[in-house]
């Protein structure tokens, strides 16, 4: 092996990862004056070349059906998620190059994007604040560890982040799902309005339906154009109308003149100096040349995703930290969570056949959590929110609708199916130390970095939630007057919700948590972890906005400490 590339560069800060969290760290640190190096494991994305949201099925070799043989060979895990398809599979990793291990009876779906922008390119864009119902739950129930912060600590940071990224939504005044800094909401369609009214009659405000809150612009914002409603955001967006780091935070960071972005840089380890008790930089491998690299800085931000950041720290063993850097608590890699989902109900709403929608709304409806808000459910703690929507089916219904011949063809060409409605639950997952990741003893990825062994199963609380989800979804459909109501549970493995989190949790006590209330390592004060790894509980809300707010808050704290020479 050749010696490491001599480090002529010296940085104030290194950010590992360029996605939702890393982009925010880059923006905040550079804007606060720090010369910042962002290391991204994968290649750059060039929107003009790589974004394919307007490419029609007939222009693809397999018209959206995909090359299943190739997908199953190269991306058998990634293609479990619907957004890894013939258009967008290039935004997901090659599973052969990026192996991990789980016991066959404990499947875990690890869905990843390795390129500049990370999963902010193909994320679900749903944005929901947490409340003290979430931040206080662990303490009240004696589960996991108490969050070292409360809603009041993060609320201004939610606002700060929302104002920059642009979030459309409807204020509802709910304590359990605080309102944000909203751009105008997208419209509910006629069928969804009918469901909303029926729910209000039956449950008043206990169960209410609102338009999804999403990081998609409904008017021009921060130099980005409003959504043009083409629909398939996961294929990219040439107008940057949904939030992605490459359309928003990274350009802001670059504008400071203090950003160095290095793609194709696979970080393997954080370097640590026992004498000063500080992280000194990172070791990486150039993904293209396999050349070993070293970079030094005063401050390190890990934003590589919950599992990647845990992997890097587990792979950074020292004499003082024989089980992984910053792991004096023994909690590094533990308490892995993901949201249980894939259960709910669907049905048909009669009537309104003279109405349809125009445009492809990249957003659905939301029913905020109503379980264990004011009452106490006998079977489970915490709760879930519903996502879903109503639509009239197009020609696709022909595949499963009886009929053939001229009339059948004309109906598919010229008319739409009845309004169908579906609701699916996104549930909270409890932190359990036996859901964990560890370095695999022999398995390595293409770049020689030890792969993870992942063990994660749903516990009784998650399974009870998925049961209740089906019952209450059906109740809502029934109240709305739906026919042919059918409940479903796709029995999806953990990981597939792509909300993995918890592997370097925040907490008040260094003996039981990895990070303090500022996302700062209890053990190594110039090391911060601000991606999903930091989460002490999972809530049931889509988590990205919380990672963004925590990242901005952590950057503010880190720079203050640097100025005071505390680091």
């Amino acid at each position: 092996m050749s010696p490491p590339e001599p480090s002529s560069l010296d940085f104030d800060a290194i950010v590992v990862g360029s996605g939702i969290s890393g982009g925010w760290a880059a923006k905040e640190l550079t804007e606060k004056g720090l010369r910042t190096l962002v290391l991204e494991a994968g290649p750059p994305i060039v929107p003009a070349r790589d974004y394919v949201e307007h490419v029609q099925a007939y222009s693809l070799p397999y018209r959206g059906y995909g090359n299943l043989r190739k997908l199953r060979d190269q991306q058998p895990i990634q293609s479990l998620t619907g957004s890894c398809n013939e258009w967008s599979s290039k935004f997901f990793v090659n599973d052969r190059e990026n192996p991990y291990h789980n016991d066959p009876d404990k499947p875990f779906a690890w869905i990843r994007g390795r390129h500049v922008g990370g999963r902010s390119i193909m994320w679900g864009r749903q944005v929901y604040r947490w409340s003290d119902l979430d931040f206080e739950a662990n303490a009240k129930e004696g589960l996991g560890v108490d969050w070292p912060l409360r809603y009041a600590d993060i609320a201004p940071w939610y606002s700060y982040v929302e104002k920059f990224i642009g979030v459309s939504g409807q204020a509802e005044g709910l304590a359990q799902l605080p309102d944000g800094e909203f751009l105008p909401p997208m419209q509910l369609n006629c069928a969804e309005l009918q469901v909303q009214e029926a729910m209000a009659r039956r449950w008043r405000r206990e169960r209410l339906l609102t338009i999804g809150r999403c990081a998609v612009l409904t008017r021009p914002h921060q130099g980005r154009a409003a959504c043009h409603y083409c629909g398939p955001c996961e294929r990219g967006c040439i107008t940057h109308s949904y939030f992605s780091s490459i359309g928003s935070t990274l350009p802001a960071a670059a504008a400071t003149g203090r950003l160095t972005l290095r793609p194709n840089s696979v970080v393997a380890q954080v370097m640590y100096d026992e004498r000063t008790d500080r992280a000194t930089g990172v070791r990486a491998v150039d993904a293209a040349t396999m050349q070993p690299l070293e970079f030094r800085s005063r401050l390190i931000f890990l934003c590589a995703s919950a599992l990647e950041s845990a992997r890097i720290l587990l792979n950074s063993k020292t004499a003082r930290f024989p089980t992984g850097l910053a792991n004096s608590s023994g909690e590094l890699g533990r308490n892995l969570m993901d949201h249980p989902f894939g259960a709910g109900a669907n049905g048909t709403l009669p009537g309104m056949e003279d109405r349809k929608t125009f445009g492809n709304r990249p957003n659905g409806v939301y029913v905020p959590r109503f379980r264990n808000v004011t009452d106490k459910h006998p079977q489970f703690v915490r709760g879930y929110g519903f996502q879903g929507g109503a639509a009239r089916r197009d020609w696709g219904r022909g595949a499963t609708t009886p009929g053939f011949g001229a009339q059948f063809k004309n109906a598919l060409l010229k008319s739409l199916g009845p309004w169908s409605l579906w609701l699916g639950g996104w549930g909270e997952c409890l932190p359990r130390p036996d859901n964990f990741v560890a370095l695999h003893p022999t398995l390595k990825d293409k770049w020689g970095v030890p792969a993870l062994h992942i063990q994660c199963t749903w516990g009784p609380n998650e399974l009870a939630i998925l049961k209740d989800v089906q019952v209450t979804a059906a109740e809502i459909l029934e109240a709305a007057g739906a026919k042919d109501i059918e409940t479903f549970n796709d029995e999806l493995p953990p990981g597939l919700c792509i909300h993995e989190m918890g592997t370097a949790r925040m907490g008040r006590d260094p003996k039981t948590s990895v990070l303090n209330g500022w996302n700062q390592s209890h053990d190594v004060p110039n090391l911060f972890v601000t991606d999903g790894a930091c989460m002490a509980s999972s809530g049931n809300q889509n988590p990205s906005i919380t990672y963004m707010a925590l990242t901005a808050r952590a950057c503010d704290h880190a720079v203050e400490q640097l100025k005071r020479r505390d680091l």
């Binding site: 059906y65 445009g359 595949a399 009886p402």
Partner: protein, 196 residues
């Protein structure tokens, strides 16, 4: 080469097929039959045998026939299905699909004494009506789906697989998507309630 020969020759170059709808109805039928005959003897199919292709083409055209708008044959549904079978489908899928076609022909043989392509139109439609009512449940549980996949495929199961692919192949073809469906690619706005 007259106009019809020309059109037949370019069948499969889907971008040019919309021109077909300019033909008078009788010409269109003749055209469809001509393509049908050619498809039967097609040598450029890589997976479907002439007999399998005949069954696919025949059922596809009955499902989505040529009318004042293009039908399944004219947009090359059989060619696209052959492409998926050859390049995309995992071996188990492909095997199941072809077994399904064989089951349909076996059913036709049992009922009418000849494979699907060789029986009368009324018999074909009668068999399709019988098979059509067994479309798969929209939401089988994972366990049900797994159990179903292990059973030998029935004629109804084979028909359901074929129908799914025929619908996909037809409606995603360029002439149909571009000239008939005409969904705006950049709508520019969302309206949740407009006249249908």
């Amino acid at each position: 080469m007259d106009r019809r020969e020309f059109l037949e020759a370019i069948a499969g170059i889907s971008a040019l097929v919309p021109g077909l709808s300019l033909l008078p109805g009788s010409d269109q039928q003749a055209f469809a039959q001509g393509v049908h005959a050619r498809a039967k003897a097609a040598t450029n199919l890589r997976t479907l045998s002439p007999q399998q292709d005949g069954t696919v083409t025949c059922i596809a055209e009955i499902l989505l026939p040529q009318t004042d708008t293009v039908g399944a044959t004219a947009v090359g549904v059989n060619r696209f299905i052959d492409l998926l079978l050859t390049e995309s489908m995992p071996e188990a899928y492909r095997h199941r699909f072809l077994e399904g076609l064989a089951a349909i022909d076996a059913r036709s043989q049992f009922l009418y004494g000849a494979p699907f392509t060789s029986v009368r139109k009324e018999e074909q439609e009668s068999l399709m009506r019988a098979l059509d009512v067994h479309l798969p449940e929209p939401h089988p549980t994972p366990a049900e789906a797994a159990a179903l996949a292990k059973e030998p495929i029935t004629a109804a199961g084979g028909f359901a697989l074929l129908k799914r692919l025929v619908v996909l192949a037809y409606f995603t073809s360029e002439p149909v998507a571009k000239e008939l469906i005409k969904a705006p690619i950049i709508p520019g706005r969302y309206d949740g309630c407009v006249p249908a």
